[in-house]
């Protein structure tokens, strides 16, 4: 049991317009989400005394729409604590750190945000793949270093290649098949059809999936999420400061941010899993609740295999059993025993890069899922983000 249990709440959420190639200023999108979250909590902006984000300001590229200083200055926030950067336990690590800040009393209300504008940036023809750095490599002179030194020179330009290597190993060890993995994508599309802000909403069949063009075996086009423009924000509040706010606060019951294996895409000791292996079990160390208590699961699907890895790592099924667990899609449907990625995930609703999963978990617990609302008044939700060496997760409870 850790000291964080029920010492932080989510008191408000906000989201900007989401879409493909909105051609909007990324800070403008970011502020839409931030202002919406502050209003959703019923706070005044001078009450926001903490600010946290992933991955922080990164310049052009579409991967980050705004950094800490951009939002701090635009909203003239009187900050007592702030934190931004890429080296977190996954994208939601920035929210976990906000929970720690309010639990320690360093802030009362932390505004957390993540914004992306990759669709617009790619629409301008400037990004062929993550590793190609906006085309600078083709201009001569670029040389790979850091985390790219041992991937790019071997023509592994994109995270899809790196994740595919894990997926293939899982297929090899456990007999997992494309017909099974398909259900991550099919379930997401099925749910996106009930989400008016999702990007891809037309029904998808198993045949559609199996006949899609291959990107990096065994992953096809529909195993890859869709680049989007959009921003998401949360208010993380001290419980004693959240009690009188507009919304019923959602308690952070536990978090998982362990990474015991090597922090690397190619050097992780077990290639049939990822950093999820360490972060998942850590979530259950902080609570008396267990996987069987979870009413809704929002698990990162930047690539479909990552969701399967989270399902196994969080103990919803055994190691290697993920394929059988999702096969047929009944167990993970809205009316199944473990409703999964109820908004359509990043595969169909758009790559809001981790924050979209926590946003959806909150909506579901507040009973505001609309047509896609999970029945039975869900009380416990898990939100997880990150793949490869990135992994962080939160367990939320209502009341």
């Amino acid at each position: 049991m850790n000291e964080l249990r029920r010492k932080a709440t989510v008191s408000g959420i906000g989201q900007s317009e989401i879409g493909r190639r909105l051609m909007r200023n990324p800070l403008d999108l970011t502020l839409d989400a931030c202002v919406a979250a502050i209003e959703d909590a019923g706070l005044r902006r001078e009450e926001i005394d903490g600010l946290s984000t992933y991955p922080g300001a990164m310049g052009p590229g579409g991967f980050s729409g705004a950094g800490i200083s951009d939002v701090h200055d635009a909203l003239r926030l009187p900050l007592r604590w702030f934190n931004g950067g890429p080296e977190h336990p996954g994208q939601l690590g920035s929210v976990i750190e906000a929970c720690m800040a309010v639990a320690c009393g360093l802030a009362n209300h932390v505004l957390c945000f993540r914004s992306v504008w990759e669709a617009t940036y790619q629409g301008k023809g400037k990004r062929a793949g993550l590793g190609l750095g906006g085309g600078e490599s083709s201009g001569g002179g670029y040389r790979a270093s850091g985390m790219m030194e041992y991937t790019l020179p071997f023509r592994a330009y994109s995270a899809v290649n790196w994740i595919a290597l894990f997926a293939q190993r899982h297929f090899h060890e456990y007999g997992t098949t494309r017909e099974q993995l398909a259900w991550i994508a099919l379930n997401a599309r099925r749910n996106a059809g009930k989400n008016p802000s999702a990007i891809y909403r037309d029904p998808m069949t198993l045949d559609d999936y199996l006949s899609a063009r291959m990107i990096s075996t065994p992953l096809c086009l529909f195993d890859c999420d869709v680049p989007a423009d959009g921003a998401t924000a949360f208010i993380v509040s001290r419980p004693e400061r959240a009690a009188d706010l507009r919304r019923e606060p959602l308690f952070v019951e536990s978090v998982g941010c362990a990474l015991k294996g090597r922090p690397s895409w190619d050097q992780f000791d077990d290639l049939s899993t990822m950093a999820t292996r360490d972060a998942g079990p850590a979530l259950w160390e902080g609570t008396e609740l267990g996987p069987g208590d979870v009413d809704v699961a929002e698990l990162y699907d930047g690539f479909s295999f990552i969701t399967l890895s989270w399902l196994e790592s969080l103990g919803f099924c055994g190691k290697g059993e993920g394929g059988a667990f999702i096969e047929g899609g009944e167990r993970i449907a809205l009316d199944g025993s473990l409703p999964l990625n109820t908004h359509g995930g990043q595969l169909s609703a758009g790559r809001l890069h981790g924050y979209g999963f926590l946003h959806e978990a909150c909506l579901q617990l507040w009973g505001e899922g609309g047509e896609r609302q999970v029945p039975g008044d869900p009380q416990v939700a898990v939100a997880a983000a990150g793949g490869g060496p990135l992994a962080g997760c939160l367990l939320l409870t209502k009341g």
Partner: protein, 148 residues
Amino acid sequence: MSAEQPFRVLPRVTEENAHFWRGGEQGQLQFLRCSACRTWIHPTSPRCPECLGKGLVVESASGRATVLTYTFNHQPWVPSADHPYPIAIVELEEQTGLRLMTNLVNLSNEDVAIGLAVRVVFEQREDVWFPLFEPADAALRRVGADPA
């Protein structure tokens, strides 16, 4: 090697990693190794990750390895005539966990498999010798193989 070599991003070669990226000039696949506990180290580090010793020396590995996993990249990130091409993670026979991402070459795509025994072969570009891997079994080697 096929006549037309595919585009490759070059690594930034430094004093610390030159043994790895340029060892191929002498036909050697080189890594740092701890002179105290004999652990092989990759990527490079100022200290041995096992015993934290600082006495690290460059040594040549056998170049014999096993394929741990692979993927065929189909997406044309960079135009090339050889799609789909195999990317793999291989483990050197010297030590469990001594591994690297690489490309498998000189074989038919249909022979690519987890567990395949491979050996290093080098492809030079400018000041870099890329360590790539081909089948250890001569019967599986196809020099300049086309994609299956």
